[in-house]
Subunit: 345 residues, 2 copies
């Protein structure tokens, strides 16, 4: 949307009466330039509002293959497949810039595996890392070491306090908790009585969702009750017995917020109690049993976190950092949760 010819390195060099190499050194902080010259170059660059041409930049550096590493831990739902789909889409867009992306997968929720993957990525010369960080002290200090080595880190989905990172890309979990409250109001009325089944609240992101729901109930939906919150990992048998226990203990529960795996077991419990399609159930994400239950009327809505979009964004942000040395406008890139219902598919 500009008209006048965009300023180039060459123009600056001519205006300063020096060579392009020197201008390049100044503007890219490659050192060894006489201070007064450096100052002059910077002035002129600013006066012209010089913006380096990223296309030319990339072409010039094309010989060395710059690599981004995405480190994911495996999980048993469609989530990561979609994240990867988004990453691959972005990869296609940036490959002509001489930037490629590799994906490393570690064992499910293993801190050791994640540390190992990070070490590998560094020794293999990756220039940026995309990571779903485990909430662990060792990861925290490893991340900060990365920052010191000049390797930018983009967090995906989960967030780590007290670390030096480039950007966090993830769903607005707090909001998704609040949205669950509103959904229950729409489905069951102002006095909904909610049972929540959640993954362990140790992960920052998971906890935020719970806090969102809680905050909404305490401040805006005061007629509603959060009857009980049960934390379970995605284990079908545990899900069965814990869901059963909760519903037996609280026959007044009319809403279930199923924010984790273990849905097959959970549904067995709901059915055994004759509550299937009676309880208003809202879930999270899009695993296969969720899709089936939505079609079947067992789940009324699910709150998704747009995994494909997350994967795509994370790569684009790392890319822009690498190619234009630019940091994202927002330190936290929060993707809006989206509500899916039966006809959404």
């Amino acid at each position: 949307m500009t008209k006048s010819p965009r300023p180039t390195l060459k123009m600056i060099a001519e205006l300063c009466g020096i060579s392009r190499g020197t201008v390049d050194r100044v503007l890219n902080g490659r050192g060894r330039v006489k201070p007064e010259i450096a100052r002059r170059v910077e002035e002129i660059a600013k006066a012209l509002n010089y913006q380096p041409n990223t296309v030319a930049k990339s072409l010039a550096t094309q010989r060395r293959d710059i690599k981004i590493c995405a480190i994911l831990h495996v999980q048993g739902n469609l989530f990561y497949d979609d994240v990867i789909k988004g990453m691959e889409k972005a990869a296609g867009e940036i490959k002509d810039f001489g930037i490629s992306i590799a994906i490393k997968r570690g064992a499910n929720f293993s801190v050791e595996a994640q540390l190992r993957n990070i070490d590998e990525a560094v020794s293999e010369g990756f220039k940026a890392i995309i990571l779903i960080p485990m909430s662990d002290e060792r990861i925290v200090s490893r991340i900060n070491a990365l920052a010191a080595e000049g390797i930018p880190v983009v967090y995906l989905t989960n967030f780590l306090d007290r670390t030096d990172y480039l950007c966090y890309v993830g769903c607005d979990y707090f909001k998704s908790g609040k949205m669950a409250a509103e959904l229950f109001r729409l489905l069951a009325g102002d006095r909904a009585r909610i049972g929540m089944i959640s993954p362990p609240l140790t992960m920052q992101s998971i906890k935020l969702r719970f806090l969102g729901l809680k905050a909404a109930i305490e401040t805006e939906y005061m007629g509603m009750t959060l009857v009980e919150v049960v934390e379970i990992p995605s284990d079908e048998d545990l899900a069965y017995s814990l869901t059963l226990d909760m519903l037996r203990k609280h026959p007044d529960i009319d809403c279930l917020f199923y924010a984790t795996g273990g849905l097959v077991g959970g549904f067995r419990a709901v059915k055994d109690l004759g509550l299937y399609r009676k309880l208003k159930i809202v879930s999270v994400d899009l695993a296969k049993p969720i899709m089936e239950a939505i079609n079947d009327g067992g789940i009324l809505a699910t709150i998704c976190q747009e995994p494909e979009d997350q994967g795509y964004r994370a790569v684009r942000i790392a890319f822009e950092r690498l190619v234009a040395h630019s940091s994202p406008k927002e330190k936290n890139f929060l993707i809006d949760p989206s509500i899916k219902i039966r006809q959404s598919f």
Copy 2:
């Protein structure tokens, strides 16, 4: 995600024992090459799976500014502001490719203005056009003429039959109609009685939404009734009187699908009848009165069409055509409708 060095024009030239210029002529169809040479070049290119480097391509053609024109007609809601926001985002990403984008706005729903804008764009040398086409014979033939001149057209939001276009980017309106049906089931039960207020059904896209709702009711929600459909433009006074008429005539209506502007007038009618917050109202898009009514509990949900995403996509598709000469994988790029509720904001 490839390993072996990517083939270049130069490699092909060397393998064929000819110059890069000639290879370029063959691969870009610039003509005047001896057939047997052309054949050989094409063979080798295919064998190597040669993909031109778009970054280099763009740098080479940077001297001439390639322009994309987006032709919108003004409308009184936030929709176009968001579309433009998305376009500007894409514009930022592609400016270093030497491609810029300009936006022309015509009078609201004026076929003449749209034709004029198209003519202007052509004579000003735009290389691609993004357009919200009016459903009109003159537009149809003008579009087809564009195609003949080699100017690709990307449709936004609305779609035109029997035309030669590059891609259609828009919301899946049929699906959004079906989603409305499911929302009413969730909000009012299996026997919901729905009144629909829609913009004139002449626009393809608007009609699809209506058809989606109708189809859902006829095939899946057979207990529900579509009591009446009233078509009104976004005129507050008309909206008032027509909404009033409809609700008086059909006191059994318990759901309102407000798929157009004129909401301020419409709400006045609803309030005058004492039905505010009693009727289950679902709307479409995100104008200001909609936001207010959602916060107020007057509207329970609104089905949005992600205008920013649409604008962004349209530009990227035009861009990819211009720079890589590639057509999008899908002729129709349907963006999923998204459901927004009170806590979504």
